[in-house]
Amino acid sequence: MDNHIVDILDNTPFNALSADDLSTIHAHRSICADCADAWEAARLSSLLLHERVSDAAAQAANANPFFQTRVLAAWRAQQTSGAWGFRRLWNATGALVASMAATTAALAVLMFVAPATNTTTTDQTATLVPYSAESVVLEQDDNQLTNDQIISAIYDDDDEGK
């Protein structure tokens, strides 16, 4: 089998084969059965395809003449039913959307209002308690032990232990 012939048949539409291609194929297929089979199959394939395309064209020509009118009417009907479509959508999902909105509002209230309330409480607590951490550290009483007294007390204890 000459692959050159098969390549010609596979690369070019059957009806577009040039005169040179045809003469080459005809010269070869008379001496090669495989290439003759390939040629016959390609010819039959082309014939079947053309019959199918012709049949499709005939069907299209005999199509319902009101097809376009019906398509346009359906399209207009779909356009005019847009508001009703929104109403149907709202009826179906309205409860869900409303509950989501309510949840969002509740979360927003919790996020922005609740922290402010907490801050106020902290301020009130600060005013009620007469001292803060800073006052404890910085404003120590004279009655409290000094560092030297603490150190001496610690080392005295150690000495006693010995």
Binding site: D37, L44, S45, R52, D55
Partner: protein, 126 residues
């Protein structure tokens, strides 16, 4: 606008064909007596030949079954180029594929169709 709509329609049709299950290979045992007779008659003839109404029906059915074994893309390329005589450039514009892709698709489809028909003609012809 027209090209855009054509491409959308083409891709929609391709998706619909793709979603339908591809049929298996056409084998000789699937052929009816009429189809076998048709293949014998047509393959024994030479050149272009006119078919009668009954032969046309058989030819269309055989073509459908043959194309059904191809992928939707290969089917489109083969139908447009070999059946309708469209150019590679025209198919590329309609589908949005590159010209090389169109050529590869058409080559592959032509080869598959030829090989399938060679198998069908094998026991009957020559």
């Amino acid at each position: 606008m027209e090209g855009w709509l054509t491409r959308i329609a083409t891709n929609t049709c391709l998706n619909m064909i793709r979603s339908s299950k591809r049929r298996p290979e056409v084998v000789t045992s699937d052929l009816s007596d009429d189809e076998t007779d048709f293949l014998e008659t047509v393959s024994s003839g030479s050149g272009s030949q006119e078919l009668d109404a009954e032969q046309r029906v058989i030819a269309v059915d055989l073509a459908e079954r043959l194309l059904g074994t191809l992928s939707p893309e290969d089917r489109l390329a083969l139908t447009m180029i070999d059946g309708e005589g469209a150019s590679v450039n025209e198919v590329a514009e309609v589908t949005g594929w590159s010209e090389s892709k169109v050529k590869v698709r058409a080559f592959r489809a032509r080869k598959k169709a030829r090989e399938a028909l060679e198998k069908l003609l094998g026991p009957t012809g020559h």
